[in-house]
Amino acid sequence: MAGIKAIVQKIWSYNLMRYPVYILLVAGAWQAVFLSRMFPQILFPSIGQIMSSLLKESMDGSMLLKLAFSMRLIIIGMLVSAILTVVLTLLAMYSKSVKSLISTLISVFDPLPGIALLPLAILWAGIGDEAIIFIMIHSIIWPMLLNIIGGFNTVPIIYQDVGRSIGLKDSKLITGVFIPASIPSILTGFKTGWARAWRALISAEMVFGATGASGGLGWDIYMKRSYLDMPGMFASLIVIMLIGIVVEDIIFKKIENNTVKKWGMVM
């Protein structure tokens, strides 16, 4: 008996095992609301309608195409932002005035939603992928910088002194002390950036419309909404949530386990 309990607890301790239970609970509540006819059923479709729409689009490959389109933009946005963040962080490390300039920029730009910059994006980057990437970079880079520079700032002096006393200098000091010591902040920066990238992408696509032959998930949601295809719209939202779960619980978890957890920085 105790053995079974332990096994159940062990399984329960994995996020991926817990999700199905949560999902079933939410789906059950959703279906109950649908059946209660509390909301017009055109706007609040049943789980069955949503799932069959999801299944249909997954089978004919159209969902995969839209997902690939969006993922490509997200990856470009994340990569460019990461490179810019590294460069700006290094500059901030070397010069106090650059650091204060960057923190001013962060406080000025971070609260601005990317969509508010739309007219500028159109003016400078046109209306293609570039404009969406421009808006995405704006959304990703400020929280990323904030976390990473913040992380570097809070590296205890004693670590830095240890680094210096074993002969580390300049770039060696950064790679040997600052980066490992601020991995938790760097990870938070990337996680926040990732979430912001999705938000920016979806809202930019909903404003811009299709930019390529097909368009991504944001455009898809916009189209389905225009045609009152609510099951399809919720199906696309589910896909975005699934991507979130996969990235958070598989990719970021793995990085965390191999770095901060392994090194005993967090429990």
């Binding site: 329960w12 817990r18 949560y22 609970l25 939410v26 509540a29 609301v33 509390m38 909301f39 017009p40 055109i42 706007l43 739309l118 007219p119 159109i122 003016l123 046109g126 209306i127 293609g128 404003v207 811009f208 419309g209 299709a210 930019t211 032959a213 916009y222 189209m223 909404r225 225009s226 045609y227 009152l228």
Partner: protein, 327 residues
């Protein structure tokens, strides 16, 4: 821990459920005091909605229904209006025909009450690329229209069927952009080479040296912006009839270029009095309660696959008393 999570989840779901509950409005019965009547209106931006906002500003309906509470909101487009109508947040809305047909196709039970305006619609292109017809638009060029399933989108589709024999020829060129964004994009040399514009953007773009290569006539003629009313509002005959009369009065004022009406248009659209007069008389513009092209649009949208069910005719899309302008 897990119990806590489940409780939080439940609370969140309940929150969503209750937040959406809305009290259904009560429409009063016939009498001389209408203080128990609330009518919730929604209109959009642009001169084609002038009959609605002139009726609002001059209190033409209040005059007829003393004491009635009229609530006005502005929406950015037909799809949000559809959602609001379906969730019983609105009684009357002013919009283009295509979103109405999309909703009726899905089984929504509101109907068209009357037309308010046939606005001009023109495809404006950049002058430097030698585009003189739809045929010159290349796959990499973009055509901006206010939204998907908007009258501009459907008109582009109708024109492309007429000229190129394929209704969906430009589906991949289409980009949904609000009028001001499209104006910026067209002027700043982006991939946007054409804009299916409405007033006053048509005039502004032409004044900037852009060219008009297509009008609503090339798509078979202009289509109405319509007033839709819910079943509940329609069943209150007195209120419904007064609404129709008030809209009719507003339209009459616009057509005779009544000083006050023109002034309201110029203030609302932030244009000069002269421009307001010029736009009222712009070729292709008609302010009328007659409905233009409801049947043709229903047929076209069915054939091109925008709606699933074949229309059961004019009477299935409109309330009794709505008048078609014929062809």
């Amino acid at each position: 821990m897990k119990k806590k999570l489940i409780i939080i989840l439940m609370i969140a779901i309940m929150g969503v459920v209750f937040a959406g509950c809305s009290k259904p409005e009560v429409l009063g019965t016939e009498k001389s005091d209408y203080s128990d009547v609330t009518i919730r209106f929604a209109q959009q931006y642009g001169m084609q909605y002038a009959p609605a906002y002139i009726m609002q500003r001059l209190g033409l309906l209040e005059k007829r229904l003393p004491g009635a509470k009229l609530e006005w909101t502005k929406f950015g487009g037909g799809s949000a209006m559809n959602e609001a109508l379906i969730s019983n947040q609105l009684d009357v809305a002013f919009m283009g025909i295509p979103p109405v047909l999309i909703a009726i196709d899905k089984g929504v039970d509101y109907r068209i009450a009357c037309g308010i305006c046939v606005p001009p619609a023109e495809l404006i292109v950049r002058p430097d690329l030698g585009i003189s017809s739809l045929k010159d638009i290349k796959p990499e060029n973009k055509i901006a229209a206010p939204s998907i399933g908007s009258i501009q989108h459907i008109m582009l589709s109708m024109a492309s069927k007429k000229i190129l024999g394929d209704a969906n020829a430009f589906d991949k060129n289409l980009i949904a952009m609000a009028n001001p964004d499209a104006y910026t994009a067209l002027r700043s040399g982006t991939e946007v080479v054409a804009h299916f514009a409405s007033m006053p953007y048509i005039d502004m773009e032409i004044n900037d040296g852009m060219k008009s290569i297509l009008t609503a006539d090339d798509a078979g003629g202009g289509a109405s912006i319509v007033c839709v009313a819910t079943k509940a509002l329609n069943s209150n005959t007195k209120v419904y009839n007064e609404l129709m009369a008030a809209l009719g009065e507003a339209i009459e004022l616009i057509n005779k270029q009544d000083e006050e009406a023109v002034k309201i248009i110029s203030e609302t659209e932030k244009i000069s009095i002269e421009a307001a007069k010029k736009y009222i008389a712009w070729p292709g513009t008609k302010y009328t309660t007659d409905l233009y092209r409801v049947d043709e649009l229903a047929e076209f949208m069915y054939e091109a696959g925008y709606i699933k069910n074949k229309s059961k005719g004019f009477d299935s899309m409109t309330w009794e008393g709505a008048e078609s302008a014929g062809k």
